[in-house]
Symmetry: C2
Subunit: 220 residues, 2 copies
DNA sequence: GGTGGCTGACTGACTAGTCAGTCAAACCGA
DNA sequence: TCGGTTTGACTGACTAGTCAGTCAGCCACC
């Protein structure tokens, strides 16, 4: 990608973050970059084209982050996978990213091109997780369960937790355990304890969530 | 609510359904009713006011549906609660309703009034579920678990499943068990088997999902 | 005949997209 | 190496169209 295109995509992200999808104008995007509105049309014929390109960008980057770490054992990979969904409200970047994505998702049913991108992303997410589970069953790490069903449940819970954390704003902390904890964090902890732990084969143990989170932090 | 206001709300729902929140105009809404655009402004000063009123309407009705059935035993109430989230793509009405809600949700972070409504709804949802679980623990139906945490997990999974089913369109069936099954159905089945069943006290059994779905169908 | 519900015609603000033209760097033949 | 030419990135000014919101007035019913 060229420098200019890169700057445009960053500008879209910033504009989307401060205006939201519904109120987004080409001028808003231009204002977030050092370039003019005309340039946006120079590189992308229409506003719709620009937004599709942005979504494609977003999802491609997202997919690339999923691919690494395939060499780890299944129990580490699954904790990794879940841990990647945890974030705090302070992580503005992440929150803005997923809010933009959520807005585009809600436009899916009205726009075939958006929907196609979303389906590609959903399939990859579920298949990646199902593969980890299937690998774990094959090598005896996990008890035999239906990988597709378990993956679908985990992905739904992670998605829901993220959506709620994003849309419920500042006050989204759950007053659990006497302490405040984010929706994503609480959900991942519960999923590990209620879903993943019980399917571990006799004698197996799960990597610690905090340790994994710290490692992921160091990587990025 | 007056007849006119009722007609306006229905028109908003229909317009939202065919145009989506981002492209919705006052004229679109007027076109879906037998009234004029001016009338919309006569009853609601601004477009924002109208949409807030619509959201309030939506959530109030939603909340009322939650309240009934408080006389049932906890294991029936929890299956009821989960079963209410199951729907098929054929159920256009439901799908449109939740799509509209999703679009408004994604606007929450840009609009305080929307966000306040969303928070009220989230709290009610989680508290209702937590209360069912707490009641069940108190009367020995369920093993002692943290009601708030379990409720948060269940609500997140239900929300995520619904969002995915809505946004992934026609091809949203999961090819599970060799047969196609909706995201919401698969998730509720898994939640019952993996989360609810395990916290049932010794000797307890859960009501059948299909039976409960049929009963809910008859009620509406 | 007055009042509340309602309308059509209108307007000013705003928006996506266009277009003619600028400018600097790359290119190229002598 | 120099002059001229082309090219691609980029811009400001413009246009046609759309939108929310206004307003004067209509009309059915009290």
């Amino acid at each position: 990608m060229s420098d200019a295109d890169d700057e445009i995509m960053n500008a879209v992200a910033r504009a989307l973050r401060s205006h939201g999808y519904a109120d987004l104008t080409m001028q808003d995007i231009a204002d977030e970059s050092s370039k003019s509105k005309s340039l946006l049309h120079y590189h992308h014929d229409t506003k719709a084209d620009l937004l599709i390109a942005f979504l494609d960008d977003l999802l491609t980057e997202y997919e690339q982050r999923l691919e690494c770490r395939a060499d780890q054992p299944p129990e580490q990979r699954i904790v990794d996978f879940l841990a990647r969904f945890v974030f705090t409200p302070e992580d503005d970047e992440r929150e803005a990213f997923h809010l933009a994505l959520l807005e585009m998702r809600s436009q899916g049913p009205f726009n075939d091109r958006i929907q196609a991108q979303l389906e590609r992303s959903d399939r990859l997410l579920r298949e990646t997780l199902a593969e980890i589970i299937a690998d774990g069953i094959a090598d005896g790490t996990f008890e035999p369960v239906d990988p597709d069903r378990t993956a679908a449940l985990l992905v739904a819970a992670l998605d829901g937790a993220r959506t709620r954390q994003i849309t419920l704003g500042e006050a989204n902390e759950l007053p659990l355990d006497g302490d405040n904890i984010t929706y994503t964090r609480a959900t991942v902890e519960e999923l590990l304890a209620q879903i993943v732990e019980p399917i571990l084969a006799e004698g197996g143990t799960l990597p610690d969530l905090d340790t994994t989170l710290a490692e992921l932090d160091r990587e990025d």
